[in-house]
């Protein structure tokens, strides 16, 4: 199984969610994070002084799926989260060795 982890722009979350549901994904977990990258931050003013804020708000979305689904999830995320502008985000794929559903103690693919 794989964990597909996408760092995306916050306002894209609901589009991405819809795409994944359409794909038959039943679960995902979302975290508010702050990203640093090529997308520049912004300046904020405080009593006449400017401060450079490097981190920008991002959403981290994690979906654990069967190996064979991973690529389709990636496609779906790209298609929904893409704007073409710097800062659209990244997708990281990592291995998952075991999944357990707490409610039923099911393991593996059944648990997703």
């Amino acid at each position: 199984m794989k964990r597909v982890e996408a760092i995306i722009k916050p306002f894209k979350l609901s589009d991405v969610k819809e795409k994944l549901i359409a794909l038959g994904i039943h679960g995902m977990t979302v975290t508010e994070v702050k990203g640093f990258g090529r997308q520049k931050g912004h300046t904020e003013l405080y009593r006449g002084t400017e401060y450079k804020i490097d981190f920008v708000p991002k959403i981290k979305l994690e979906v654990v799926v069967a190996q064979e689904m991973a690529e389709r999830v990636i496609e779906a995320v790209i298609s929904a989260a893409h704007t073409g502008q710097i800062g659209d985000g990244k997708i990281f794929v990592t291995p998952v060795e075991e999944v357990i559903r707490i409610r039923t103690k099911e393991r593996g693919m059944e648990a997703i």
Binding site: E44, L45, Y46, R47, G48, T49, E50, Y51, K52, I53
Partner: protein
């Protein structure tokens, strides 16, 4: 420890009971005006509200980890200074004069401060109404100072500072300006609602305190952004609201002078908010909400000494200039290198100074027969008096506060240690967290 506390409580009770009742004996005098009394009581309540307002204003501007510590430095001024005022402060400030410098202690514990009017201060309201109105001024002034050393002062040191500063700095200056026999009052210096006593005094003291305590770790290269600007705005709103009591209540009566003070207060504040916003827009490309609110406070500060003495259009001018000079002061701070965390000096020190000078320019007996004409009405004298009094207040506030802070630093240390500063005042000084997840 327990025994000592119990013993002191018993002792204290005994004293209370002993001296408690002289002041109560005064029978209601016939001259009391219900409208004037209503107005002064309302005003006292409004000024009381300013201190929680300031707590919110300041608390919104610090980092999350210091919000309670910052709020507490304002909030705790209410009980501590109020008790000091009842016991000795009112007597020192408004009691029988000693050498034009201070009141004596014969009004200790509000002895003889009863419910009939005191003709010297407010002939149509109970003396205690005047006393409690003035108490609220004594409360908020050191709270303003606390903006200078926000985010790094030890709470024990702050409590000691509060008591020393109120007694040694606030009470004398209040006596100079408003006490019968006080030298500034005798000289003809005009301060309608506390330009010297509250604003210059707190602002200049803030500068001295900021210098003694030193910069916050990481300042100025690390951004220390306000953690919650909605609190700040709420605080600013409450300050504006309460300031009507502060300024128009200083007429100590309802009627034309109160109205004039109310009107000039509002107009100057509007103008200063506008001016700050415009200059920031021009200077930095964007008009901030904090800027508009800071400008408003600058206007409130600057009109304070002038409120009951100047007409609407001079107030507009006075306020506009206040917005500009305070903006400049606040921006310059970064160059000068002292860390007055929340700009108590830039806003109150500079704004108050401009206001005191402007009173010497724009005051008019047409507005208030009890005042004087300023430069603009052909009386350069008043402007000179104002300048002299400004200089004296600056010197006294700076020197005394500097000394108090230095002594406290030597004796108990004014600053939390590095780890505590990192972790924040809320947890380390008060064992609390402002917000749970």
């Amino acid at each position: 420890m327990k025994k000592k506390i119990v013993a002191s409580l018993i002792l204290a009770s005994a004293i209370f009971v002993g001296v408690a009742f002289a002041g109560d004996a005064a029978a209601p005098a016939p001259k009391i005006d219900t409208g004037d009394t209503a107005w002064v009581l309302v005003s006292a309540a409004l000024v009381l509200l300013m201190t929680p307002g300031l707590a919110l204003f300041y608390g919104g501007m610090v980092r999350r980890k210091n919000v309670l510590g910052t709020m507490k430095q304002s909030f705790v001024a209410i009980p501590i200074v109020s008790i000091q005022w009842v016991l000795i402060g009112y007597s020192l400030a408004f009691g029988p004069d000693v050498g034009h410098f201070i009141g004596n202690l014969s009004w200790f514990g509000l002895n003889t401060v009863g419910l009939s009017p005191n003709a010297d201060y407010a002939p149509t309201i109970p003396h205690q109404a005047f006393m409690i109105f003035q108490m609220m001024f004594a409360v908020i002034t050191p709270a303003v100072v606390s903006g200078a050393f926000a985010e790094r002062m030890k709470f024990t040191a702050f409590v000691a500072f509060l008591l020393l500063w109120t007694t040694l700095v606030y009470d004398p200056i209040a006596h100079w300006v408003w006490g019968t026999g006080g030298w500034i009052r005798a000289l003809g210096g005009l301060d309608f609602a506390g330009g010297f006593v509250v604003e210059i005094n707190s602002g200049v003291s803030a500068l001295a305190a900021a210098i003694v305590i030193g910069r916050r770790r990481g300042w100025p290269h690390e951004p220390m952004m306000p953690h919650n600007l909605t609190l700040m705005l709420l605080g600013a709103g409450l300050l504006w609201f309460g300031w009507f009591g502060f300024n128009a209540g200083s007429a100590a009566a309802s009627g034309t002078v109160a109205t004039a003070a109310f009107v000039s207060t509002h107009i100057a504040t509007a103008a200063a908010a506008m001016a700050w916003m415009i200059v920031e827009w021009w200077h930095r490309g964007k008009p901030t909400l904090l800027g508009a609110a800071s400008g408003a406070v600058a206007g409130l500060v600057a009109i304070t000494p002038a409120a009951g003495f100047v007409g609407p259009l001079p107030s507009l001018l006075l306020g506009g200039v206040a917005g500009l000079v305070c903006y400049a002061a606040v921006v310059l701070k970064n160059r000068l290198g002292y860390d007055d965390s929340l700009d108590a000096f830039g806003v109150h020190g500079i704004g108050g100074t401009w206001g005191a000078v402007a009173t010497g320019i724009f005051a008019s007996v047409a507005v208030n027969a009890g005042g004087a004409n300023g430069l603009l009405y052909g009386n350069p004298n008043l402007a000179l008096i104002q300048l002299g009094c400004v200089a004296a207040t600056w010197a006294y506030s700076f020197f005394m506060t500097f000394t108090i802070m230095k002594v406290l630093d030597a004796v108990i240390g004014v600053r939390v240690d590095g780890d505590e500063e990192e972790q924040g005042l809320d947890l380390t000084q008060h064992g609390e967290n402002a917000y749970t997840a």
